[in-house]
Symmetry: C2
Subunit: 140 residues, 2 copies
C-alpha cells in the first residue's frame, strides 16, 4: 500500500486517467485497493458497522498496527467512517461509506475468486513444480 503517500494530489481528466501510467495518481489508488488487508477489511464491513476489536478477530492474524493503518488509510480516502463513542471502555465503530460500498463489490469478487479457484491453482502449481523438477539440469 505504500504506507502514507501524501504526494501528487492533482487529478487528471477522466479521459487521460490511466492506471498503466506511472505518474497517474490512480495507480497509487490501485495499489491501495489491490491489497490483501484492504480487501479483507472492506469485506468485513460489508454487513454493517464493526468495532475495532471485532475486525481484529475477524481478520485472523492481522496485527493491530496493520489494522489501524489500513483503517486510517480507508478513512482518509473516504471509504470508511470512524465513529468514537466516549463510553467507559471506549468504543469505536467503523462503517463503509457509499464510496466504500461501491469498492466492496469488486473486492468481493476478488475474494470469491480466491476461495473458489484454489483447487485449480493448487493443481497448476503441482504440475508446474513437477515439470520444473523433471527438466532442471542445465546438463552440467
Amino acid at each position: 500500500m505504500g504506507s502514507m503517500q501524501v504526494k501528487t494530489d492533482w487529478i487528471p481528466d477522466a479521459e487521460v486517467r490511466d492506471v498503466y501510467s506511472r505518474q497517474c495518481p490512480c495507480r497509487d489508488l490501485l495499489d491501495m485497493l489491490a491489497d490483501k488487508w484492504t480487501a479483507l477489511t472492506i469485506g468485513a464491513l460489508e454487513d454493517g458497522p464493526r468495532r475495532f476489536g471485532q475486525l481484529r478477530v475477524k481478520l485472523e492474524g492481522i496485527s493491530q498496527k496493520m489494522l489501524t493503518q489500513t483503517l486510517r488509510t480507508l478513512e482518509r480516502d473516504g471509504l470508511v467512517t470512524r465513529t468514537v463513542y466516549p463510553t467507559v471502555p471506549l468504543r469505536v465503530d467503523y462503517e463503509l461509506t457509499e464510496l466504500g460500498r461501491s469498492a466492496a463489490e469488486p473486492l468481493a469478487a476478488v475474494r470469491a475468486w480466491s476461495t473458489g479457484n484454489l483447487p485449480q491453482v493448487v493443481t497448476a502449481r503441482r504440475a508446474f513444480d513437477q515439470r520444473a523438477a523433471d527438466v532442471p539440469q542445465p546438463s552440467s
Copy 2:
C-alpha cells in the same frame, strides 16, 4: 505478494475455505491476486498474447525483475502460459489461460474503480487532511 510461497499445498473443502482464516491457503492466493502488478499484468493480457517487452512498456515503471517474478507466479498458478519462440533475437509470449481470464474480470473492475473514483478519493483526502490540520494540537 510474498515472493515465492511454496508452502502448505493441502486443499480445504469448499465449505470450509475462507480467506479470513489465517492458515487457509486461499488467503495466500488472495494475497497474490490482490496485488498491483498482478492486476496490471493480467489486464495487459486481456486482449491477447503479449511479449515480455511489450508488457514492460505497458506497465510503466515496472522493473524487469518484478515483471519476471509476477509472470512466473502467474504461470505457476496456472493463470498464464509462457511460450518461447526459438527465433534469433528470441521471443516469448505470455497469454491468459481460461483460469486467468476468469480472474481478469474481477481485476478489471478493481482497476476501473481506481480510475473512476480518483476524484472522490482525492476530495476525501483533502477534507481529512484539513480536519487533521485543524484539530492537531494535543494542547502541548
